[in-house]
């Protein structure tokens, strides 16, 4: 083994002699700028100045620097040019909707109204409740919590409350029998109600009486009467939408309802502070399954061939 090592060393020296990169001969081009490169060997990359140096390009051509442009958010809702809009008198609109909703139950299908406002995205919104001249939904089943032998209980029963009492109501609710849509509590039985623990059942359904919602009152009958037929409306995305009538309503009923609603909204608009300018832009009548028809405010147009009597039936 000791003899083999110098032998190998010699061999390698003789072999490597020819592959050495430094030129042994005197360079011919003495003042050439590229001699240095030549000295570095044939396959080494050329030396370039900083200016000429280009950053190594990414291997993937899909990688681009993402340009993030921040758009300025608009503060108002888009307003469209309504000059070319096709509008309908009420009778024509009702005729089309009634034809569209043919065969549906006249009580389950509702006329719906959308009021488009010119309004800002932030700021106060229109929100109120209104009792229409012809209420859309009248069959609320109301439960009144009050001492069962008080005068209030009798009055509530007379006014058409489904369930009246204290312990009976609590037991029924706890048993899961909730056969009412609204619940009103008399102030005297408030403490008893809070103790009973029906909040756990009624709370998630939004039926738990509370003074904040105005359902804990001294006179439950008065609230009941207000509740039936009153509907809440509010502006969302610059539009107020509300059910305005049942399909079975006559054009006259619809007209009074529409007028009442639009007047109420206009009053609300004027009540909002002077700095914020809101106005009513468009009125669109639609129905549960039907098309949306912009109204022009007239009851009967020049081309209307139907009478209101024809549209009064089921």
């Amino acid at each position: 083994m000791a003899t083999a090592r110098p032998c190998l060393g010699q061999l390698s020296r003789t072999c490597l002699q020819f592959t050495r990169s430094t030129p042994t001969a005197l360079p011919i081009r003495l003042f050439s700028t590229s001699t240095a490169n030549g000295a570095r060997g044939k396959y080494t990359p050329p030396i370039v100045s900083k200016k000429e140096k280009v950053l190594p390009q990414s291997t993937n051509k899909y990688i681009k620097k993402a340009v993030v442009k921040k758009k300025k958010a608009r503060t108002t809702y888009i307003q469209y040019d309504l000059s070319k809009e096709e509008t309908f008198p009420l009778l024509d609109a009702m005729r089309i909707i009634r034809a569209w909703e043919v065969g549906q139950k006249p009580t389950s299908v509702k006329y719906e109204l959308a009021l488009k406002l010119k309004s800002q995205k932030n700021g106060p919104v229109v929100r109120n409740r209104l009792r229409l001249p012809h209420p859309v939904k009248t069959d609320f089943r109301v439960c009144v919590i009050c001492p069962p032998d008080s005068a209030y209980a009798e009055a509530a029963r007379a006014a058409g409350a489904v369930l009246v009492g204290e312990d009976d109501v609590f037991d029924a609710v706890k048993a899961g029998k909730i056969e009412f849509d609204r619940c009103v509590c008399q102030t005297d039985s408030l403490a008893k109600m809070n103790k009973s623990g029906i909040g756990r059942v009624l709370g998630p359904r939004g039926m738990m009486p509370s003074s904040k919602l105005g359902t804990v009152v001294v006179d439950p009958v008065k609230t009941m009467k207000d509740m039936v037929g009153a509907t809440e409306y509010r502006e969302r995305m610059g539009v107020i939408r509300m059910a305005i009538g049942q399909l079975g309503f006559t054009p006259e009923q619809m007209s009074t309802n529409l007028k009442a609603f639009i007047e109420a909204v206009k009053k609300d608009l004027s009540r909002i502070s002077d700095k914020i300018n809101k106005e009513l832009v468009e009125v669109v009548l639609s129905s549960t399954n039907g098309p949306g028809l912009p109204l022009n405010g007239a009851f009967k147009g020049t081309n209307t061939s139907v009478t209101s009597k024809e549209l009064s039936g089921p």
């Binding site: 005729r95 034809a99 468009e282």
Partner: protein, 193 residues
């Protein structure tokens, strides 16, 4: 609210409520139409449903005073029937079509006049319409030239929009793929996911 252009296009489509099968005026002695069929439409109840969705709407548009009711049942074995209520001839001559204020009382108009009932199960929409027209002697309303032109325009628009939508679907798919490839290249996504 939805863009105004889109809404107005929809309203133009309402022309189909005026033109097509069922655009007819029923004679004054017809007091009421009633249809019975089943909710699910696989067992011969597709024709009645199509009739209700298309032709009955047009009939109601041209005869707004005549009550037209539909009752759909759950049981698939129930029959599909069309009932036409006629007022008696003398009553029809003296009074214009009565406007009944109480829905869902099929017996009240039937008691005064005659009724015609025919089967509509396993029948096409146009077959039902044909029989109804012959039974009632309804007067058909022919579309005007202008309406026909508009219908043609609507059809052309619909074709064009179908083409456009397939094109934009392709473009969107390509964009999505490109985005995905970029995400994979950046290492935000693995190619498997």
């Amino acid at each position: 609210m939805v863009n105004i252009a889109q809404r107005m296009t929809r309203l133009k489509e309402l022309l189909r409520l005026k033109v097509g099968g069922g655009a007819a005026i029923l004679p004054p002695e017809v007091t009421r139409l009633h249809m019975d069929f089943v909710m699910t439409y696989d067992d011969g109840h597709k024709g009645p449903r199509n009739f209700w969705r298309n032709d009955l709407r047009r009939l109601k548009f041209y005869n707004p005073a005549i009550p037209m009711t539909v009752s759909r049942t759950e049981n698939p074995d129930d029959p599909a029937l069309m009932t036409i209520h006629f007022a008696s001839a003398s009553a029809a001559a003296s009074i214009p079509p009565p406007v009944s204020t109480t829905p869902a009382t099929p017996s009240s108009p039937a008691s005064t006049g005659r009724t015609e009932v025919f089967n509509i199960k396993s029948r096409k929409r146009y077959e039902i319409l044909e029989q109804l027209m012959t039974l009632t002697n309804a007067k058909k309303i022919e579309p005007t030239e202008q309406e026909l032109n508009e219908i043609r325009e609507l059809g052309a628009k619909r074709e064009q929009s179908a083409k456009d939508s397939t094109l934009s679907q392709k473009v969107n798919a390509r964009k999505k793929q490109e985005k995905r490839r970029m995400a994979i290249a950046r290492g935000e996504l693995t190619s498997a996911s």
